[in-house]
């Protein structure tokens, strides 16, 4: 049985699944219920000078009948008095000493930071997370992503915090920047013990075409919010991967962004994270989802022979390279299994209209498609196929279209080697 426990920058937890700072971690009662379901940790809903929220606050991006492919929110940090929050933090950390109960903070002045760091630690916080990521509402007041977008400010505030913090400090990064490694390195220079990313992406969810008001509708108007959920996972994976592989970056990473299953979590860990944080999936389905997350991850690790999280953390990082380091001589082509093909011909139209038109149909006049006994099976002209993958991506049948490697008898050559004159490439055959 795999050991899921982690030590993240000195914060111990029974598993890498933490609740992200968000509505699911608003109160002690919620977090204790989450812990009963098995969450390894929770980052408390950001404490700051209490604010007031508006109604409504959330909006969703549905796709082809699937609810909440993405979610956005315009809710701010805690709207409850700090005293109430600290009393609850005390109760949670006493009752669940083995869990990674982390307090998220967002303040303006050094004095405020100092006071609240001390109160958090007094009440049992295992770590602190600095909210430099929130892209709505708070940033207009000079906090949240307004800090995360200014590396120098980020570094200075991190510095203040490090002066007073006696527990590990995690800097939460905003994705609303051009190059994630810049604020990541600023956090490191500021002395942070770890980073977490990504916070939400600045977004407008939709426009109600009847009222002409974007959503969520707050009394006839709306505002930009923070985007999260399954749709943002690829963006988050890239940022985690970019930072993890950066040669000057050495802090632990808590991965956040669209994590809904143990597989999502395993991917973040494989690209360099050592804990993960979850929010939208819980807002959609509740705390119970952690039960499959821990079980699935544990079984997968057993299957793969990984005993600990560290055993596979960062394993994919070495395979995440720049374009110029890819092998130009590698070649795959699509192969359609006629026995599995159901004849929808989505691959045909996708290749024809959306890619390089290398797929042909029986009876289309080209004579390229052979008789397979079922006259709707498309045919891939292997000498024309660019190996783009598109057909295999649109195919609705599992394992019907596979991408098969073509051995061209050529050694690997990268673009970097080619342009440096270290290697040659065969003549390039473009599609006529």
């Amino acid at each position: 049985m795999a050991d899921l426990s982690i030590n993240f920058a000195g914060i111990e937890a029974p598993n890498p699944f933490w609740l992200a700072s968000a509505p699911p971690t608003n109160t002690g009662e919620q977090i204790m219920r989450a812990y009963e379901h098995g969450w390894g940790g929770a980052v408390w809903k950001t404490l700051g000078t209490p604010i007031r929220n508006v109604s409504a606050r959330f909006a969703a991006n549905d796709f082809a009948g699937q609810r909440m492919m993405g979610l956005n929110n315009i809710e701010l940090i805690t709207d409850r008095p700090l005293d109430v929050n600290y009393a609850e933090i005390r109760e949670v950390t006493r009752k669940y000493p083995d869990r990674a109960t982390i307090v998220s903070l967002m303040f303006e002045t050094e004095d405020e930071w100092k006071e609240n760091i001390e109160r958090s630690i007094e009440n049992g916080a295992k770590g602190l997370e600095l909210n430099f990521g929130c892209p709505h509402g708070m940033c207009e007041r000079g906090m949240g992503s307004a800090v995360g977008q200014e590396p120098m400010v980020l570094e200075r505030i991190t510095n203040w915090v490090m002066r007073y913090a006696s527990v590990p400090v995690i800097v939460k990064l905003t994705p609303n920047i051009t190059d994630i490694t810049v604020p990541g390195l600023a956090a490191q220079h500021g002395g942070a013990n770890a980073v977490s990313l990504i916070n939400t992406i600045k977004s407008v969810m939709a426009v109600d075409l009847d009222t002409m008001v974007p959503v969520p509708n707050v009394g006839g108007a709306s505002t930009n919010g923070g985007y999260c959920g399954p749709a943002v996972k690829p963006i988050a994976l890239n940022m985690v991967g970019q930072l993890a592989r950066h040669r000057d970056f050495s802090l632990p990473i808590s991965g956040i962004g669209g994590i809904s299953t143990w597989k999502d979590a395993a991917e973040f860990i494989a690209l360099g994270a050592t804990s993960v944080q979850v929010c939208t999936a819980v807002m959609h389905h509740g705390y119970r989802i952690v039960e499959d997350m821990t079980d699935g991850l544990s079984r997968w690790m057993d299957d793969k022979g990984y005993r600990t999280i560290q055993d596979f953390a960062g394993r994919a990082s070495r395979h995440f390279v720049n374009w110029e380091d890819l092998d130009m001589n590698f070649k795959v082509v699509a192969a359609i299994d006629p026995a599995k093909c159901i004849g929808c011909q989505l691959c045909y139209v996708a290749c024809k209209d959306g890619s390089h038109h290398c797929i042909y149909l029986p009876g289309d006049g080209t004579g390229k498609a052979p008789d397979t006994g079922f006259d709707r099976v498309p045919y891939v002209a292997h000498d024309e196929c660019t190996g783009c993958n598109l057909c295999s991506l649109v195919c609705p049948v599992e394992n019907c279209i596979s991408m098969v490697e073509v051995d061209r008898g050529l050694s690997p050559v990268t673009w970097k080697q080619f342009t440096a004159g270290e290697a040659t490439l065969p003549a390039y055959a473009y599609k006529h």
Partner: protein, 454 residues
């Protein structure tokens, strides 16, 4: 007496006691089902539809909330898309060809999605087609069934004046008088007639050609004539006792069930349906739905030889219809009213001929016997029309134009195809309208064959 609509149906019709077995989808069901459609290239469902409705396109439009656009896509191809949605044997047409079948997943519920879209248009009175610029050409259409309605609608779009002559008090043909009520009820058929007629053509009900108006009159008054009169009465079995009360033809029986005020199945405990086609299965299922405790289908050959659809037969079995294969009726028994059916067992001889087994006679008790062994052809009317070629009672037409030889007569629906689905009649009626249009443009010369419905 020649009389135009209103198309009033009596209240208290027995068919209203039957359920709608495929009720309207909810908004959420329709959206979920629409989103399941793969939107195939050159989709097999379109190819399987006699009217070539662009099915993936209308389903896509339902999925995006473009309901009016979905309805127009359907009705552009098939103006009878509303009834076809409910009465089409989708299992052997569009849905039967859905690629999901090959994946082992349920095919898209195309018929129910189609109904969802047409109901939307009907509920809101949305109309998509207008009368074309008047050409001065006039066409008489015989029979107000699906073929004539589709033909008249298309003729009107093309600017020709269409007048439909119907012998019954209500138009709609078998959609109003013969379709199983759990698929489509008569009032729904009439709702469709009113919608289709709304483009602006005339239907004269209670005006039977040969009784209330002569064929010669039509021939001299109109530039072309469309023959869409369907088939004749139920075939007789020529059995002793067939004249007893309680021994009825299926088409006549179903018409009473659908259209007659106060018609009831008083105390029918055991019913027998003779035949192995879809009308037989319909009749048997209707009787079970109306609460007849024991309904037995008697067919002289085996299950594999039945012309009825397998999915319909399966439904009949599930609904408790009993089946008696390899049994040939030889006598209707009873004193005044039927009390049973005497049959003999049958088999195939060594040479493959159906033969009765000597000494195998048996009797099934029955207080109702429904004969569903086919309909007569309307040969007497048709044989009086000059220039028609008949083949086994059917009007022979050019499959591309619906034209009978080189005459001014065109035909479609059951009288030309021998008895197929509503959707075939709709396709053939539309095709004939386009054929007539080309015929008029060619100033009476035989039309070229390139005209087709698509």
């Amino acid at each position: 007496m020649i009389q135009s609509l209103p198309m009033a149906l009596p209240a208290d019709r027995l068919e209203s006691h039957l359920p709608d077995l495929k009720p309207r989808l909810t908004e959420a069901q329709a959206k979920a089902e629409a989103n399941r459609c793969l939107y195939c290239h050159d989709a097999p469902c379109i190819q399987a539809c006699p009217t070539a409705i662009n099915i993936p396109e209308f389903i896509k439009r339902i999925g995006t909330g473009n309901m009016a656009g979905a309805a127009e896509t359907i009705l552009e191809a098939n103006i009878l898309g509303h009834s076809c949605a409910s009465v089409c044997p989708v299992e052997v047409l569009c849905a039967g060809s859905c690629v999901y079948n090959r994946l082992g997943e349920p095919p898209i519920m195309i018929g129910r999605l189609q109904r969802h879209a047409t109901e939307y248009a009907y509920d809101r009175g949305l109309r998509f087609f207008q009368k074309g610029r008047a050409t001065g050409k006039r066409v008489a259409l015989i029979g107000a069934g699906p073929a004539s309605l589709a033909c008249a609608h298309e003729l009107t779009r093309l600017g020709h004046e269409a007048v439909v002559f119907e012998g019954r008090a209500i138009p709609g043909g078998l959609n109003a008088t013969g379709v199983a009520p759990y698929k489509l009820k008569a009032e729904e058929a009439l709702r469709e007639v009113a919608y289709v007629k709304g483009i602006g053509f005339e239907i004269r009900t209670n005006c039977l050609v040969g009784r209330d108006i002569t064929f010669d009159q039509l021939n001299s008054d109109y530039d072309a004539v469309f023959l869409g009169m369907g088939l004749g009465p139920d075939s007789m079995l020529e059995l002793p006792g067939e004249e007893l009360s309680g021994c009825v033809g299926a088409v006549a029986f179903i018409e009473r069930l659908k259209n007659e005020a106060g018609f009831r199945l008083a105390d029918v405990r055991q019913a027998i349906v003779i035949g192995g086609g879809n009308t037989a299965i319909d009749a048997a299922r209707e009787l079970r739905h109306l609460g007849v405790p024991r309904v037995t289908m008697v067919y002289r050959r085996g299950e594999a030889e039945m012309s009825g659809y397998a999915h319909e037969l399966l439904a009949a079995k599930q609904e408790g219809v009993e089946l008696r294969f390899w049994a040939a009726p030889v006598e209707v028994l009873g004193q005044g009213h039927v009390s049973g059916l005497r049959c003999e067992e049958t088999r195939l001889s060594a040479s493959g001929r159906l033969e009765r087994i000597p000494g195998s006679a048996f009797t099934l008790d029955a207080d109702l016997i429904v004969k569903a062994t086919g309909q007569e052809k309307l040969a007497s009317l048709l044989s009086g029309i000059p220039g028609l070629t008949l083949e086994r009672g059917r009007v022979v037409v050019d499959p591309a134009t619906g034209q009978a030889g080189s005459s001014k007569f065109f035909a479609g629906g059951d009288c030309a195809n021998g008895g197929k689905e509503v959707v075939n009649a709709a396709a053939e009626g539309k095709r004939a309208a386009q054929g007539m249009d080309a015929y008029f443009k060619a100033a009476g010369r035989p039309v070229a064959r390139e005209v087709s419905v698509r």
